[in-house]
Symmetry: C3
Subunit: 397 residues, 3 copies
């Protein structure tokens, strides 16, 4: 049997015509079929590589990356994905001041896109900004294509915005799917997406939002836990609730880490900043109020310090299903006694889950590659078959 | 008929033997035939890409970029051109202090060139420096090749120097050629290369110089306009005058934006710094006189402020041929009320010309690719035919 | 006769099975056969390139570079080597603070390696750190592969550590082999690895250590010369002595540049910092003692200033074998009257040897490529034959 058979058989059942030529902003923009296709193609591309077969669909072309926040993992994942498909990464290292108004977004977007097949953007620092910016870039290049300026529409891949972190959360979910032996086995499983203490300030909301916005679609019992004042976007909570109901699962918010962990199959303890504080910071930043930002930071760190007991301890892990819930983190984690005095997770817990955590991260390059692949390839079934049949080796030797 | 036929037919008529193995410093180093070949190859490469055919002539190899001034457009154009032909870009991020004397230029040039097929340099800040530096790099790598140090001579491409900006101006001209339906239709057309007000300081002279140095070769009426004190290199004015006379056109300098715009077919209103001031800055910089530079900057901004009425307004556009001259800019433009209070161009004018402006910019990657192609390929006609015949697709899918 | 015949004939005689899948940390980790294979493959790859034949063994894949110290030469050499073999370079630009403990090394190493075929690291600033760090990275990715996190083990290439600089010293030696017409002709030749004055501070010990640790294996008379107080690692001196004895050569340390130069066939005059001072600096750095580091720097510069007469002058060159020893330097050199008032070498000496010096440097990309090739290709003989037989051109044209 051919390597690709199981993947092409799955893909053939799915309605994914709308993925061709489209961007990837938020997981909830995508249908269940489209998400299933994403996971299938990610697995297929991984299988090709594991069998030393090339997945290059591009002979030349650029993948543009724009990181408005530090990144190592996502940066390397994006570079890996582009390289896997045959695109060369060109990083746009902008001065922050250049992007002051929509006018310039439109111009910059076109100026970098003459030979760009994909644009990956991370812009997660300010509420109401990142997603809006990504949309503006996408609109600009589509207009550029319509006007005959660009010869192709670069696909936009959201590498993290203020709302969602789809490449991370889809990698998380693909990891979970593999650990549980299939998406169908997630039905009825309990996942605890919970706040955890960190001695740092201002971590984005996109991971908790992305997790509840994605995992609530699989019939799971989704529990969001955080101390008072650490709310996330209310719209995403409402979305999670709707999706959970529709998929035969449930969503609820609690203010106790213990309650979230009790009997959980999966735990995702992670620090984030309060939504209200992030909104305030966005406003202060907009006003150039540096003193205000510093005062806010101080206040937030003090607020954090009231909740040092929100830690993923051995005791809490023991309370999960059979004492062995799958522990997730997007990394790097704040590990108590290792990277900080007190943090999100006990060192012994982290150590025990190190290998699955690294595996979780290892899906991200394939998820990104699959996003690009599905946006660029009109007939993914035929293309996977073709790549196998051509049998071009990735590495001679 | 084959896609490449019209291009190869044109190329076959041209005497371009001297382009092979040569650099691209200044447009006026090149014969009319050589420029015609450049435009033809740029169009041919664009046609190949638009038909999803690969233009990779390199299986491996590096394109070295060295930007001694900020750049987004030219940086991405160079990266795109290299990628289109199969070269990987490696950026030389030098500390400015490293290049103190010719000795080190020679060494650095060789050290980065062991596997370099092309070197692109932007060095436009100081009068008398950029072109000289590019020549020194070219001399060094040619000597390195002669000495058996290098296995190939990297082609030098001027990505902007103190004298000319050939990748920009050739892209400008190719855009104009397409807009007017052929280079032969430029005969007798009036182009106004005029200074315009900007609230910034020290913009290079290479664009106005490059424009009059190039457009004066096509039988056009070339008018250079600027306020008193904003002179450009006198040698380039003399060159423009000679070329205009030889090609059956004219060149003149005026001190009125209105006079330049009246009846013009093409307008290129753009800010630049006075030649004398740039010379003074170069001297101050050489002496490390920071206070002097700041004083000069202040003086120049005050001088600029006397000429805020040099703006490309709707009224002035109305005075051009049929009120619809082709508006050119190398971007980014200083747009009144958008990127600054008062600037080079009225917002409504800029808005109306946005699409042609973006198209103008879109030629730059192909111009750069054509420069490399013609320096690297001995028989361009045969190679274009070969690329089409091989029919390697750029993107599968 | 085929181009590769002479190389494959040499390789076929060598026992190099252990190179496949292994890293390159220190030259003395490698057997004589393995070093011979390295030089043979470097020459073979150069021959392929000189004959316009592709050496791409990778269709896609990443080469990760991590430079914890400034670099131009090694950076471009690594980029060239990766590109020659078909890998795209992705630079890890770390904040120094991120790598605080072994925990994070392990994590970072895995996070950047999902699609990494090679990792090149330069980490030469602190005694006891660089080599240890490189080992930790290698251990981490091997563990990651064993755990199923990574799909391939990235090969680690030491681009300079606190102990050795193998890519430099092997390029140096390959240059010497070519200049002397074969490694067998080095027997009995005298090489002077000597300290030289420089007005700078803190140059690494890895070059003098690497040179005596490598050249002492070829039956040569190896002389290390430096002023009192400029010791290198004692372990490396002991190693050099043992190797020299075993190979029928000799090793000795002297405190006179004149004595080292007298009758030498090869001279390598170069500044370095005293081992004891480097140890002290490492300790001060570890304690974050900035004032202490500044005081040490002052002290070292004063100590240096006592030895300005340690310069490679025309007089000293005249005392070498036939007055024409081969002059080596890893570049850039501190040239008296050119890059500084007094330095390592007289300007006239440097000028006379410029071409051989550049040739010396030109071997580095091929040495690095050979290191990667031998770690990645199971049967190098067959692969070189295959590359020639396939005859894929590097540059069409």
């Amino acid at each position: 049997m051919a390597l690709m058979d199981r993947y092409t058989a799955q893909l053939a059942e799915l309605d994914i015509a709308r993925m061709f030529g489209n961007d990837f902003f938020l997981t909830w923009d995508k249908t269940d079929d489209e998400l299933a296709a994403l996971f299938t193609v990610a697995d297929a591309l991984r299988t090709l590589r594991e069998n030393n077969l090339s997945s290059r669909i591009f002979d030349s072309g650029l993948g543009i990356s724009l990181f408005r926040d530090n990144s190592t993992r996502t940066r390397f994942s994006f570079a890996s994905a582009c390289n896997l498909l045959g695109l060369e990464v060109q990083d746009l290292d902008e001065g922050k001041s250049q992007i002051a108004h929509g006018e310039t977004v439109r111009e910059t977007a076109n100026m970098i896109s003459f030979m760009a097949d994909v644009i990956g953007i991370r812009d997660d620092m300010y509420i109401g900004k990142g997603h809006t910016y990504q949309k503006a870039v996408s609109d600009a290049v589509r207009q550029g294509y319509a006007d005959g300026v660009l010869e192709q529409v670069p696909t936009l891949v959201n590498l993290q915005c203020d709302i969602d972190h789809p490449t991370q959360c889809c990698a998380d979910l693909l990891h979970v799917i593999h650990e549980f032996g299939g998406a169908q086995n997630l039905r009825g499983k309990k996942i605890a997406m919970t706040w955890a203490y960190s001695p740092s300030y201002g971590k984005p909301l996109s991971v908790p939002q992305g997790v509840i916005g994605l995992f609530s679609r699989f019939g799971m019992e989704v529990v969001l836990a955080h101390p008072e004042g650490y709310d996330i976007f209310p719209e995403v909570e409402e979305l999670a609730a709707r999706q959970a109901a529709a998929s035969g699962g449930s969503f609820r918010r609690v203010d106790s880490m213990d309650e979230a962990f009790a009997g959980a199959d999966i735990v995702y303890p992670k620090s984030w900043a309060p939504f209200a504080a992030m909104e305030k910071r966005t406003e202060l930043y907009g006003n150039g109020d540096t003193a205000g930002i510093q005062a806010l930071e101080k206040e937030l760190l003090a607020q954090n310090a009231d909740h040092t007991d929100w830690e993923c301890t051995e005791e809490r892990m023991a309370s999960t299903k059979n004492g062995s819930a799958l522990y997730l983190h997007c990394l790097p984690a704040d590990i108590s006694g290792v990277s900080c005095e007190r943090g999100e997770v006990a060192a012994s817990v982290f150590d025990r889950y190190r290998t699955p955590l690294y595996k979780q991260a290892s899906y991200k390059p394939y998820i990104i590659a699959a996003m690009i692949f599905l946006a660029k390839v009109k007939d993914p079934v035929r293309m996977l078959e073709l790549l196998e049949r051509k049998g071009r080796v990735r590495q001679m030797g």
